[in-house]
């Protein structure tokens, strides 16, 4: 990526990745011969709200949009995915970009990160690319690391806290065995966890302001990518078969009348678990 010098606490240009995903509150399904996710009943991924909040908190601290800070919500997906960008604009993103092309359908993580990297490169010198810790549909957390590799940006992922002082970025990463403090110099790629902040909700002013904001659409041609670089042709993985797991059914439910602890031990013994 193009390097640029960031003077002390100058305005930031941030790209936030937002994904339009099936609402996790409902049953979700795979559909068709290629076992793709059914995207009806979809919403902005809950985990991307933390990424958006992280970006808005950083730009608020530097004077917001008035001071020239830019937060671009970027999505890749079918026509309906523009809803994720629109919601982001209501919450406070200043700009919206929707990468939309029929050839993208059925892209795996590799093809998706290729197209997203190309899209981010069209947005000029970017200081931070911020993503959620995972999408709530694919749940693999592959995209942030692949984008970091493709864009040549330092990777600060699974950040449970994020600070930017001048051009120095500090993040905390909580692992099972260690808590790590990670430092890098802008520009960087960051993914934030659901511990990083408390996402704000869109307010009335934001909803009205969002009506004036436009969502730019980018096609594959505009990204300089041939159709066979994405979709099934450009993907490096394939789903051979999918099976819906039989729904769990309720077993024996008892109400404690003073002996339930013993009944629990009986159950565990009968299952040979003790």
């Amino acid at each position: 990526m193009t390097q640029r010098t960031v003077v002390e606490n100058s305005a930031l240009n941030i790209v936030v990745l937002v994904k339009y995903v099936p609402d996790t509150q409902f049953d979700r399904h795979l559909t068709g011969d290629s076992h793709r996710i059914d995207r009806n009943e979809s919403i902005l991924s809950e985990l991307d709200e933390y990424a958006l909040e992280a970006a808005l908190a950083l730009t608020d601290a530097r004077g917001g949009a008035k001071a020239g800070n830019k937060v671009t919500a970027l999505t890749l997906g079918p026509a309906a995915a523009a809803a994720a960008v629109k919601k982001s604009l209501q919450i406070g993103a200043t700009d919206g970009v929707h990468v939309s092309d029929e050839a993208l359908a059925g892209s795996d993580a590799s093809a998706t990160s290729l197209a997203l990297a190309a899209a981010i490169k069209t947005l000029g010198p970017v200081d931070l690319v911020i993503t959620g810790m995972a999408s709530t549909d694919g749940e693999t957390s592959i995209i942030p690391a692949q984008l970091s590799a493709r864009l040549g940006l330092p990777q600060l992922t699974f950040a449970s806290s994020l600070e930017v002082d001048g051009s120095t970025v500090t993040a905390r990463r909580d692992g099972d065995d260690f808590t790590e403090e990670i430092q890098a110099t802008l520009p960087v790629l960051v993914s934030v966890t659901d511990q990083a902040n408390e996402p704000r909700y869109p307010n009335f002013k934001g909803i009205i302001a969002a009506k004036k904001k436009k969502v730019a659409t980018l096609s594959l041609a505009e990204l300089g990518l041939p159709a066979d670089a994405v979709g099934p042709a450009g993907s490096l993985t394939r789903v051979d078969a999918a099976a819906e797991r039989p729904a769990r059914t309720a077993g024996t439910i008892i109400t404690d009348s003073g002996e339930a602890g013993v009944a629990l031990a009986d159950f565990l013994a009968a299952q040979k678990l003790i």
């Binding site: 795979l30 749940e139 957390s141 590799a149 990777q155 990670i182 993985t237 999918a242 309720a250 013993v262």
Partner: protein, 322 residues
Amino acid sequence: MRAIVVFIDQIDVPGTLHPTAHQLLTLARAAGEPVAVVAGPVDAGLAADLGAYGVTRILHSEQADLADYLVAPKADLVAQAAAAVSASAVLLDNGPQGREIAARAGVALNAGVITDAVSVESVDGALVAHKSVLAGSYTVAARATSAVAVISVKSHSVEAAPAAEATTPAVEAISVNFAPASLGARVVQRTPRAASGRPELEDARIVVAGGRGVDGDFGPVEELADVLGAAVGASRAATDAGWISHSAQVGQTGKKVSPQLYISVGISGAIQQKAGMQTSKVIVAVNKDPESPIFEIADFGIVGDLFKVLPQAVEEIKRRRG
């Protein structure tokens, strides 16, 4: 025979292999010729341990950058070593680091990446990975269509088994060329987290998890866990309340577990929680609210006061073991 690379991290605890490493080596041996790629030192003991699992070649690097920067240098090591041995597959653990190394190595090797595999099998010369998707509501079989497959594999994908005949692996130190951007995210501080002495959540055969209903007191949950040799988990409500570390969280944004037995205590069983545990073999629920959705998926449910039921169960289990 085709080379199958298994990544082994020896930066933090040199000399000991995580049980998952033995499982990955067992999978690799079934699929081809296991090659260990080690970040960190390789002493005679480690080489013998790897040899016991049939490893013929060990490529390793002790370059300081591997420890000093986050993830990316280890991915450079894995990608360059895999290319050097013309690997047809790379297997890694499924922790956050393992998945991210897989993701980056996939870009470097132009290889398909599959995460969260619960089993891996050879079908017509290709590796097919099985995994749960959409929070356990589907299982899929997936494969890489590229020359190299990169797969991160969850614990207990296979029972670890040493090779019929131990090998004496050749140990080669390699020098990794790190990409400039790989040396961008520096680890400036590492603080070990306190060890609980209990099994790790994702490795445990039994998990006892507490939620809002424990009301700040994980004592009964921990006592039941300890009598069962179980790991302790928690719902997001309990970790957000600060009653227990966030690393104990089971759910959509926490750990995804599928133990032999999951005992859910004082947890309502909302979608967020179910996404992390509904593939458990047996589910037991204790909750005072009979309307809790957790009872819809419990094999055995107790409507009652956890502060009475759990201590009684602990006493009864101890008594039977007498």
